[in-house]
């Protein structure tokens, strides 16, 4: 069989299997195996090399460790404390508790590496409370669904660990690069809520301003979360530990905190650990299979053909970048974040290298594109999670999240026009 025919068959098979409801790891792997087999390369050697090499990787140990830490924080009641503590500080702004959703999600994002976990943990506490206070449902849902996506932008971030490991980019740099965009997006979300609620105050009644004593007292609720966030930031950005080491020590620290707060039990530890295994295995098996696919594409010459093909079209780098954005936005409607990243990176990596963009900056941009995918129907995971928790209709959630989607899209444009907003902080910390 000719090489172009094998390439076509591999790609058609991959997307047919994915759309046919096949597990993502299986679709990636079987497409990769078929390509290697049809080429007549040593199948056993190629597979075993990739399976062992990609799963025995110290950088990736940060994934189960950060997930484990997030699980313990979530199940030991830290998100409830965070929500009630933050409400004392921002609840009196125009938009009331809606700001609590944004700020609590941003803070929880700095503990958890997952958007779904962030949205679910804050949503579980916030939605019933704010509904009971008569807040506009669409605004509640939209703010939580969108702010939940900050979980993968504000460090630690599972998506950034996967990206960094795949592209061989410093994960500490990527984490640092996510901070300013994460804060800016949070502030834009809050600005939108202020403007909307100043025009229609009934949407979200303000809370009575808290006294200084109440605010200080609320720190009692927030301090465990703030302590962990501070530890993670100092350890990684201070160059004291690698992200994986930081994650391991954070797990130990969180377990100690849970014990001090009286919420530790062996049952809790088991539940957190088994949930960590489910999530980590799901991500890591996809990673291993994606590596098999990329080896197949490399053998087939696709990896070197793509830049050559794009060069032959004579397109400008910015046009190539916009096409990549468009592809991510379209695929984001159909794939979840992890799958989207690992399916596209083998193709996008040579393209990006060819047009010479900063890989740290691109890591942040891809993360924002994945965030957009998470709030885009029909497969936006955050939409379904929050719709499920709130017992509302999907269309109501989609209507609520739409303005936040536009803000995220505008931020993506802003970071494309001014890449320094992304690269300034990591350059400051680690040198240019």
């Amino acid at each position: 069989m000719s090489i172009p025919a094998i390439i076509t068959l591999t790609i058609v098979l991959l997307f047919s299997l994915l759309l046919g409801g096949m597990w993502v790891f299986n679709a990636l792997g079987i497409a990769g195996v078929l390509g290697i087999f049809l080429l007549g390369t040593d199948l056993g050697g190629a597979i075993s090399y990739q399976v062992w090499g990609s799963s025995n990787n110290f950088i990736l140990t940060a994934i189960p460790l950060f997930i484990f830490m997030g699980e313990i924080m979530l199940r030991s009641g830290i998100s409830d404390r965070l929500y009630s503590g933050v409400s004392k500080w921002v609840g009196s702004f125009p938009g009331g508790l809606i700001h609590t959703n944004v700020v609590a999600c941003a803070l929880f994002a700095a503990i958890s590496g997952s958007s779904v976990a962030t949205a679910a943990s804050i949503g579980t506490v916030a939605i019933p409370d704010q509904e009971a206070r008569g807040y506009d449902k669409k605004l509640i849902l939209g703010s939580i669904v969108a702010s939940g996506t900050l979980g993968i932008l504000i460090p630690p971030s599972i998506i950034m660990i996967l990206y960094g490991s795949w592209m061989e980019v410093s994960i500490a740099r990527l984490f640092a690069a996510g901070i300013i965009p994460g804060i800016m997006i949070s502030l834009f979300f809050m600005l939108f809520v202020v403007i909307k609620c100043l025009r229609q105050p009934k949407l979200a009644p303000r809370l009575k301003p808290s006294s200084l004593k109440e605010k200080l007292f609320s720190l009692k609720e927030i301090w465990p979360g703030l302590l962990i966030i501070t530890f993670i930031m100092v350890a990684i950005f201070g160059g004291l530990m690698t992200p994986s080491e930081t994650a391991a020590v954070s797990v130990a620290l969180v377990l100690l905190l849970a014990t001090l707060l009286g919420s530790f039990s062996w049952r809790l530890l088991y539940k957190c650990a088994i949930n960590t295994i489910y999530t980590s295995t799901m991500i890591l098996i996809i990673y291993v299979s994606a590596k098999i696919l990329v080896m197949s594409l490399m053998y087939l010459g696709v990896i070197s053909l793509i830049p050559q093909f794009v060069d032959s079209l004579g397109l400008s780098p910015i046009f190539v970048l916009l096409v990549i954005y468009l592809i991510y936005l379209i695929l984001g409607c159909f794939f979840d974040g992890t799958s989207l990243l690992l399916i596209t990176l083998p193709i996008v990596q040579p393209l990006i290298a060819n047009i010479g963009v900063d890989l740290v900056w691109f890591g942040v941009v891809v993360t924002i594109l994945i965030e957009l995918g998470m709030i885009t129907p029909p497969v936006g995971l955050n939409l379904y999670v929050i719709t499920g928790i709130s017992d509302s209709s999907l269309s109501e959630t989609i209507k609520g999240v739409f303005p936040f989607f536009l803000i995220l899209l505008a931020c993506l444009g802003l970071f494309t026009i001014c890449p320094q907003l992304v690269t300034w902080f990591p350059d400051l910390l680690f040198g240019g």
Binding site: N26, P64, F335, S339
Partner: protein
């Protein structure tokens, strides 16, 4: 009688999946403890265990493969269901059977390739590159072991599909 025996086999497979996942939990806890000890030893005493990073990599292999069967049992492996959800139950059933069948082929290939790797490392007497040199086939063995449980779990799911859903 035959039905009873099959249900017993299926429940044994489910238990094996759970026990393998518990092995993955042990690996997760060992990884946490070992890396934490490494950091403390280095920061406070200026010495390194010299095995933490390599061992953590092996624990990651255990988490990835020993947890896979149980993750399948509780349906936590990711699928894109955009078209699948629009199918009627009969078509879904057919798609599921095809998916399980393809999964068995893929996982069997991985099992064969990783078993060959283990056998090769064993035959050549390769040792790990860390300070404590252990035979390399030992951590490599985690892959075919995990895949074996994974294949059993997929087979059990396929069998359940052929017996009108999850009745057994």
């Amino acid at each position: 009688m035959i039905k009873f025996r099959f249900s017993l086999i299926l429940s044994i497979i489910d238990k094996l999946s759970l026990y393998a996942a518990r092995g993955a939990i042990v690996a997760l806890l060992c990884m946490t403890v070992l890396v934490t000890i490494e950091v403390f030893m280095r920061k406070f005493f200026g010495i390194s265990t010299k095995i933490a990073h390599d061992a953590a990599g092996y624990f990651l292999v255990a988490i990835t493969f020993l947890g896979a069967a149980e993750t399948m049992r509780v349906n936590r492996h990711l699928r894109v269901k955009i078209l699948y959800d629009r199918l009627n139950s009969r078509a879904k059933n057919i798609f599921d059977k095809i998916n399980y069948f393809i999964a068995i082929i893929y996982l069997s290939l991985l099992f064969w390739a990783s078993s060959s790797l283990v056998f090769f490392s064993f035959k050549e007497g390769f040792l790990t590159e860390s300070v404590i040199q252990i035979p390399e086939f030992i951590p490599e063995l985690l892959i075919p072991v995990g895949l074996f449980f994974f294949i059993l779990q997929v087979l059990s799911k396929l069998f359940r599909k052929f017996n009108r859903g999850d009745r057994l």
